[in-house]
């Protein structure tokens, strides 16, 4: 009995883990290319959950069309984030990192509030994209929705990882951050690279929202919490490392999946906070983190 509950919690945890990994990778991509930590990323995930409801249920679009629409809107939101909160700051302040942190927090909060005005304060359930009848593996009922999230999450993560590692894209991102002028001398249009990073990260975040919507429902008040879970995954796993994002996401996901199953659900967040604080105090670079980002030294002081 209790073993079943724990296994179910594990499955839930792995599904959530895939979402957190996607969010963590979105953060990392933007940081890698532009040096901006985009606090508004959680807002894009939240918009993803709401669009999953609006497009899928209220407009009745087919699932794949909803997914494509959410990714597109997420990408546009990412580009808008750059144009509104990052581009105007460039070259105007003493501390670019500091200013963009504040501007993206501001943008995120304003967007969250506007979403709450438009969508309303209630959270609304989103029906699952695949059959809701549980698959019985032995005596354990598995919800296909969760399996879908895990499979798609792993697939997307692997794709990004391979693209970054095996193709020139990764090098382009790295040189854009480390030496923008050098990158320009090589004929790289750094503005395009940075916009592209914001767009890809936005699309991934939107996708994460779409995937998680049937699990957590559509709500205008989930942005900060989702961003924090993504951050927790990154902090534990180690910043700038894909292996770290995977392991950190898995740890955070399993904690948030299993703890509510075996203890008071209210315990989850405080426990996670203590775990992250402990990691940051004992090993600030996380499990797999390098001193800098993708081996860069620009962000050594994170």
């Amino acid at each position: 009995m209790s073993a079943t509950i724990i296994i179910l919690g594990l499955i839930t945890g792995l599904a959530l883990a895939s979402i957190y990994v996607l969010i963590a990778i979105s953060f990392t991509l933007v940081l890698a290319a532009s040096g901006v930590f985009n606090f508004a990323q959680g807002t894009i995930v939240m918009i993803g959950t709401i669009l999953a409801l609006v497009l899928g249920v209220q407009f009745g679009w087919p699932v794949l069309a909803v997914a494509a629409g959410v990714v597109l809107v997420g990408a546009i939101a990412g580009v808008l984030t750059h144009l509104i909160a990052v581009w105007p700051v460039i070259g105007r302040t003493k501390s670019f990192a500091h200013s963009t942190m504040l501007s993206t927090i501001g943008l995120g909060i304003a967007a969250n509030a506007i979403a709450a005005l438009l969508f309303g304060a209630d959270s609304q359930p989103v029906p699952p994209y695949v059959s809701d009848s549980p698959l019985l593996i032995g005596s354990i009922p598995l919800r296909p929705t969760y399996l879908l999230v895990i499979v798609v999450g792993i697939f997307l993560t692997m794709t990004i990882e391979i693209v970054i590692r095996k193709t020139v894209v990764g090098s382009v991102f790295r040189i854009t951050l480390e030496d923008p002028e050098g990158a320009q001398l090589l004929g790289i249009d750094t503005r395009i690279v940075i916009l592209l990073a914001f767009a890809i990260a936005g699309g991934l975040s939107g996708m994460a929202g779409f995937l998680v919507a049937p699990i957590i429902s559509a709500s205008a008040f989930t942005a900060q919490e989702l961003a924090i879970y993504g951050f927790a995954a990154m902090a534990i796993g180690g910043f700038g490392s894909f292996a770290g994002a995977l392991v950190g996401g898995a740890i955070v996901g399993i904690l948030t999946g299993v703890l509510p199953a075996i203890a008071n659900p209210q315990v989850t967040l405080p426990v996670l906070w203590i775990v992250v604080v402990a990691f940051l105090v004992v090993k600030p670079s996380g499990l797999y983190g390098t001193a800098g980002l993708f081996g860069s030294t620009n962000l050594r002081e994170v």
Binding site: F37, S99, L102, S103, G106, A110, A235, V277, V281
Partner: protein, 633 residues
């Protein structure tokens, strides 16, 4: 000092001008302070009279809470503005203050003053816990982990609902009373106002004391501030507690103002209100939190505290302030006002008072002064970074009073060696001896306080402070000034300040800075000038040894000449100097001896008054472009 008085007439004239400039600067500061005090008193009277025109329990509660928010923002500004630590957990600190005070009153029947004290203690404890990771992580990591705590708070409140009342809030807080008298609503409001004024006064005292320099040094100089004898992490943690204090007090007062505590009041929106208020008004300015909070509080009075439009306005306000007025409104207003008064224009190319020195060549050491015994030495110092063997067994020694030039090609390990000597890098093997003691593995600040000063390739100054203040900072680490004397501005602290200022003035004169630069922020001055200010900051504490990292890089010919003269004067005072430099004519002119570093080893060491060894001659001749090799970061 007698060494410097070679041209008594000119020096006396300069000193007169320096004294005049100093008095004028002190007078300017005093006038500004008087204006500030006058404005503060006017505002206090205005707010104190509010009970005459607006009454009612609900109105007082809102005014009281508004004052509490401003108080918390004043605390937050200490961390974010003055120390540059982006902590976003002040809502938790306020909540802890409110819950601790409320629970003491409701459950234990503790009287108002002691419940408030208990609340402050609770808030401080929560602040320490929430901001602890700041000792290990910086920047957005710190912002996120502290914001995380704000999301955790409501869960903890529910988990402890037996004491905190959980989702329904904490009720049963007794009406505040003092010495048996029940404090009515308006009295509590006036008490809150007075406490806010007190907090403001203490903070104002603190930021003009040596502690103000410490905080800004952590913000603008960072880890390099250890080189002036400070311990950045210790200062950071002190600041977390200092910044938490006002927020904890504000929370405790809010508990009594509302007679109710609920976790909802201390969520992300409060975090954002405080953050936006500080940034909008001007982080790192005294009036910033007040100027910034006023419109936000006014808006919340207008649309109601629970309206979602608050969040829209706060988010948009933060976004706009970050984009449009990155420094905040107070600096903007200040710039407007100072533009009207004619500024004494100084030509940047000539910031140093000209001295008609008849450029004496390189007087032989022994003819100039006697060198003492060995004072600093290295034996077999090794350091490897990854696969790069930066230092491969350095042996060298420096005699007391010597002015040594450390030269060598790029990548030969000069900067690494300087970092080893000043403690920033611990060598893998070998040892460093300083004044007959083994100092291998000493911390940077220990070495600095023991008399090893240094400068950096990129000058590490506090841009907003003046030349004189930046020199003064060199002494802060040497003074054991406590927080309480600083906040209360006790005579002890005033004496520290006078001592610092006099020493800085003496150095200012000795370095022959142009008098008009004394009261100007160093941000307005040239790079070459900043380098010399940094040397002044290192020299003001009368160090035994000065380690200079490429002081002449980026200087023009006149500036280089002046710098060389100043270094020789410092050496004449008995300060030993090790200078890393690429500019061969410069080192040949000023140094007593040269050390050649190649591939992580000292390959040659020679006094300049003797014939140079073959190897050194070859290096000096063949160094391809000695004057243009300055760009080495």
């Amino acid at each position: 000092m007698h060494d410097l008085a070679r041209k008594p007439s000119a020096t006396a004239l300069d000193n007169d001008a320096v004294s005049r400039e100093f008095s004028a600067w002190i007078a300017r500061k005093a006038r500004l302070r008087h204006i500030n005090v006058a404005i503060a008193i006017l505002i206090l009277i205005g707010l104190g009279l509010i009970p005459l025109i607006s009454q009612g329990t609900y109105a007082y509660a809102r005014y009281g809470v508004a004052l509490a928010y401003v108080m918390a923002a004043v605390g937050l500004n200490l961390a974010i503005g003055f120390t540059g630590e982006l902590v976003l957990g002040h809502a938790v600190v306020m909540a802890a203050g409110a819950y601790a005070a409320g629970m003491l009153s409701a459950h234990a029947g503790v009287s108002f003053p002691f419940a408030v004290l208990g609340g402050v203690a609770g808030g401080l404890a929560a602040g320490a816990a929430v901001m602890l990771p700041g000792l290990r992580v910086r920047g957005w990591y710190l912002a996120l982990i502290t914001m995380f705590a704000v999301l955790v708070l409501p869960r903890v409140v529910v988990l402890t609902e037996h004491w905190t009342g959980g989702e329904f809030g904490l009720t049963g807080i007794q009406p505040p009373s003092f010495l048996g008298y029940l404090l009515s609503d308006w009295v509590l409001y006036e008490v809150t106002l007075l406490l806010l004024a007190l907090v403001g006064l203490l903070v104002a005292n603190l930021v003009r004391s040596g502690w103000g320099y410490r905080l800004r040094a952590v913000r603008d100089i960072g880890t390099a501030s250890a080189a002036i004898g400070l311990r950045p992490n210790r200062i950071r943690f002190t600041v977390y507690l200092l910044a938490a204090g006002p927020a904890a007090l504000a929370g405790a007062l809010q508990a009594f103002t509302d007679a109710f505590v609920n976790a909802d009041s201390f969520g992300i929106s409060l975090t954002l209100l405080l953050l936006t208020g500080v940034m909008l008004g001007g982080a790192g300015t005294l009036w910033g939190p007040i100027v910034g909070m006023a419109p936000l509080i006014a808006l919340s009075f207008w649309v109601g505290p629970f309206s979602v439009y608050n969040a829209v306005a706060l988010g948009a306000g933060l976004l706009i302030s970050a984009i449009v007025v990155p420094d905040g409104f107070v600096p903007l207003i200040r710039r407007r006002m100072s533009r009207r008064t004619p500024s004494s224009a100084v030509a940047d190319s000539m910031p140093v008072a000209p001295v008609d020195d008849n450029g004496s060549g390189n007087p032989s050491i022994r003819s100039r002064r006697d060198l003492g015994p060995e004072i600093l030495s290295a034996r077999g110092v090794m350091k490897t970074f990854g696969g790069v063997r930066a230092l491969q067994g350095i042996d060298m020694s420096i005699r007391q009073g010597e002015l040594v030039g450390l030269i060598g090609p790029n990548g030969s390990g000069k900067s690494t060696f300087l970092n080893v000597l000043s403690g920033f890098i611990v060598p893998d093997a070998g040892d460093i001896r300083y004044r007959d003691a083994d100092v291998t593995g000493w911390r940077v600040d220990q070495l600095a306080l023991a008399g090893i000063g240094r400068t950096f390739q990129v000058p590490q100054l506090i841009d907003e402070l003046t030349t004189l203040e930046n020199i003064e900072i060199g002494l802060v680490g040497h003074q054991k000034s406590g927080l309480v004397p600083a906040a209360l501005r006790l005579p002890r602290d005033i004496a520290w300040e006078r001592q610092r200022r006099n020493a800085a003035l003496e150095t200012f004169r000795a370095m022959r800075f142009a008098p008009e630069t004394l009261g100007r922020p160093v941000a307005e001055l040239s790079l070459g000038f900043k380098r010399i200010v940094e040397i002044g900051r290192a020299a003001v504490s009368k160090p035994t040894i000065l380690l200079l990292d490429e002081p002449a890089a980026g200087l023009n010919e006149t500036e280089r000449q002046d710098l060389g003269d100043r270094l020789q004067e410092l050496a004449a005072q008995g300060i030993t100097i090790l200078v890393v430099e690429h500019n061969v004519p410069f080192v040949l002119r000023i140094c007593d001896s040269l050390m050649l570093l190649e591939n992580g080893q000292v390959t040659c060491r020679a006094d300049l008054d003797e014939a140079l060894p073959e190897r050194l001659e070859t290096y000096l001749r063949h160094d391809p472009t000695p004057t243009t090799q300055k760009v080495e970061s």
